[in-house]
């Protein structure tokens, strides 16, 4: 299985600021995903990030609020911009179809609290 790391693991931020979350995978992967898990909720897909192309955002998520970079096949970043308390969530990155597997592998998550 893939080893996926995220930085930071948690952060407390002030309203109106931005935070960039990093996701590093120990193998080259085509597709990387960013999810949000609000307190007590299930996972919601924010966007899909493929290397060399613009990220594809799900309904309700926009690039200005959640810009994503995917500079190579092992790394991606998600920025949460102009944060408000409603952005307090766990943000998870995941990878897909690694070595022919059908399951997605998830990073440990970044717990964000916005004051």
């Amino acid at each position: 299985s893939a080893v996926i790391s995220q930085k930071p693991s948690r952060d407390i931020c002030q309203r109106g600021t931005s935070l960039t979350i990093q996701c590093q995978v120990d193998s080259q992967v085509t597709m990387m995903f960013w999810y949000r898990q609000q307190p007590g909720q299930s996972l919601t897909l924010i966007a899909t990030a493929n290397q060399g192309s613009e990220a594809t955002y799900e309904s309700g998520f926009v690039i200005d609020k959640f810009p994503i970079s995917r500079p190579n096949l092992t790394f991606s970043t998600l920025t949460v911009s102009n944060m408000s308390p409603e952005d307090s969530s766990i943000y998870l990155c995941s990878v897909d179809r690694l070595a022919g597997a059908n399951e997605q592998f998830f990073g440990p998550g970044t717990r964000l609290t916005v004051l």
Partner: protein
């Protein structure tokens, strides 16, 4: 559109007793089905999957799940629960006839195993 339902927000079971966490799904094509577990302050860990073949699949930590096509269900089971099994469990589905289709997660079920 594909969907997953986990009808129980919480399941309580005594240690040593069998446990079942329910999941039903809806997908237009043939399903790939998955169970993930999330321990406190951790990311999602893959437990098991059904792709094709035997309807009873075995996974990590002694868990198993049975695919029932007629009932569109994929319930998670374990013969003897441990206190350490207490966690949040997510069922997920993907339509494997649509290669670009993403995972859809259920709302999650919190399993509480009491000594």
């Amino acid at each position: 559109a594909q969907s997953v339902a986990q009808p129980e927000d919480q399941v309580n079971v005594a240690e040593g007793n069998p446990l079942t966490v329910k999941c039903t799904y809806s997908v237009s094509g043939n399903p790939y089905l998955f169970w993930y577990v999330q321990y406190p302050n951790r990311g999602l860990q893959f437990l098991l999957k059904y792709i094709t073949g035997d309807n009873l699949v075995k996974g990590s930590y002694g868990f198993e799940a049975e695919f029932n096509k007629s009932q569109t269900s994929f319930h998670l089971k374990k013969p003897s629960a441990l206190v350490s099994d207490s966690a949040l469990y997510f069922c997920a589905v993907r339509d494997h006839n649509n290669a670009g289709n993403m995972l859809t997660f259920g709302g999650g079920t919190r399993l509480m195993v009491k000594p």
